[in-house]
Symmetry: C2
Subunit: 173 residues, 2 copies
């Protein structure tokens, strides 16, 4: 079965964006880039909610021609970008089916409600956070309240340039 | 001037206690104990708010005979424990004065409102978090909203037994 990794960069106070959705505080460097390159070798599918889509679509992202992106939204009628597929049906059913299909691993981006739904449904297999050295003090939280405790196993802990710390965990089922 | 370190154990979703204040999820081991022993060698003063005091006073804590504990509260009239000193005056003024006095370093415990007040006043010099491998899913958050961004410098990153990760940061002023 394909693995779903929740991959995010966060602040030490566990925010993923400022109150105005800005992600100008994200730090990039050679180590982060090669960490990401290694990660993307095994991934061919990206999942995100509407809000994350709206934020990331404004960014200059590197080309990922072999990656299929699904945006989950009940309110969006159409994606302006025809390289992404809009999904308005039930996310849990759709993604459970996607995991059973042939393919490489799957990356869950963003946070908030959409990530919570997938965690609560037991669909997330790994978490990869890149903790940035700051307290944002306000903004969108990475993790919301959930219906239960989720236990993790630390797979990797790696310090990177700019005082970032990349932690990878396996979700215990 | 004496250094104030905010020292806490948290979950990956940045909670410091369950909704019912329980901290039964905390993991201890030899590495954590020697990390703490090293830390306490340089500390002779502990600061905490009322809520943290009420939680920790129920715990079986190791004896710390040479450590002076201050509990800050405007509502508590009296501490049942006469080894701690209750402070009802303005915390920022009191602690700013304390930092100027002779002595070893100071440990800020807990989180929430009391920690926010000290961060916003620029009184915290270091942060030491022991990230536990779980998402609690609910409970008291480590960091609340603050009036500004606070930048950090990573001083140490140490993996410990039970899949815990201890991160130490210097607060940039």
């Amino acid at each position: 079965m394909r693995k779903i990794t929740f991959g995010v960069a966060n602040s030490l106070d566990n925010r993923i964006a400022r109150s105005d959705d800005a992600i100008d505080w994200l730090l990039f460097g050679d180590e982060a880039m090669s960490f990401m390159e290694e990660f993307w070798k095994n991934v061919d599918t990206v999942l995100m909610g509407r809000k994350t889509y709206e934020i990331t679509s404004k960014m200059e992202a590197p080309e990922t021609p072999n990656v299929k992106t699904y945006v989950f939204s009940r309110t969006l009628k159409k994606c302006p970008d025809d390289t992404v597929q809009l999904v308005s049906e039930d996310a849990v059913t759709f993604i459970r089916d996607l995991k059973e299909q042939d393919g490489k691993d799957i990356c869950l981006m963003g946070g908030g409600d959409f990530a919570r739904t997938l965690f609560e449904a037991g669909l997330v297999d790994e978490i990869s956070v890149n903790i940035h050295p700051l307290l944002l003090g306000a903004g969108a939280p990475l993790f919301l309240d959930m219906d239960r405790q989720i236990d993790l196993e630390l797979l990797e802990c790696k310090t990177m340039e700019h005082d970032c710390v990349a932690l990878t965990y396996r979700v215990k089922k």
